[in-house]
């Protein structure tokens, strides 16, 4: 599945586009940055409720392709701008983590 497929989902508000052509490896759900640091897959889409500057730092270091913020969480404009600079996609949704991850999974199946 390409990143583009995820960014087109109606549940998501896209804050930073990243590279829409990027091929997504896995869906990853985790709110503890300490664990995400060790486990977030390269080229993955990471669904989390943890929205701070360190979320972007972890995404950047783990080569995450897209951060999806669930439960209405957002990132401040400065961090979103940095995500754009680094080519990491960021999108936000009001849905809970599982529901959003499931929608992404289903989009990848169809």
């Amino acid at each position: 599945m390409k990143l583009e497929t995820i960014l087109k989902l109606p549940e998501l508000k896209v804050l930073a586009e990243g590279n829409p052509d990027r091929e997504i490896s896995k869906i990853f759900c985790c709110d503890l940055l300490s664990i995400a640091m060790g486990k977030a897959p390269a080229d993955g889409v990471w669904v989390t409720v943890m929205g701070n500057k360190n979320t972007l730092a972890v995404a950047s270091l783990t080569d995450t392709a897209c951060i999806v913020l669930a439960e209405g969480v957002t990132l401040d404009e400065g961090t979103v701008a940095k995500a754009r600079d680094e080519g990491i996609a960021v999108a936000s949704t009001g849905l809970p983590v599982f529901d959003m991850a499931l929608k992404i999974y289903q989009a990848g199946q169809s």
Partner: protein, 140 residues
């Protein structure tokens, strides 16, 4: 190449939100050097964990990264309180981080275990009340 490339960083102890700048910079430099992406990921993760530890526990410190033909060596030195029980600190889930740090998503007791997991060699040299130096190597 023969020659060693050396990068040095000073980690600011006060600014938690800036933690990660040194590892991010190293990541970009290694990318430009054409280092294998798996190696870069290991170095970046291990170094970021170390950086975060320096900010949480030791009021900052210095990091030196050297690139040779055989490996990438990271030396992280601080003048913090030292680690009283290394064996405990190496256990996943053991943490002495404050609540403020936990609310940011860190302090889950994964720092040192992650550093060990993502490197090929790791050595901790710590003196209570004087500081800690951690040396990590990732083979090329």
């Amino acid at each position: 190449m023969g020659d060693q490339l050396i990068f040095t960083y000073i980690v600011d102890g006060d600014d938690f939100t800036r933690a990660g700048e040194a590892s991010s910079s190293v990541k970009n430099k290694l990318k430009m050097l054409g280092v294998d992406s798996d190696v870069i990921r290991k170095v970046a993760i291990a170094m970021y964990e170390g950086e975060i530890n320096m900010v949480i526990h030791a009021d900052g410190g210095t990091i030196t990264v050297s690139v040779s033909d055989d490996d990438i060596t990271m030396v992280l030195s601080d003048s913090g309180p030292g680690i009283p029980d290394i064996e405990k600190a190496m256990q996943e889930g053991y943490s002495t981080a404050k609540e403020e740090v936990r609310s940011l998503g860190f302090g889950a007791g994964m720092g040192l275990p992650n550093m060990k997991r993502f490197t090929d060699e790791m050595n901790i040299d710590t003196v209570i009340g004087q500081g800690t130096t951690i040396t990590m190597k990732v083979y090329l």
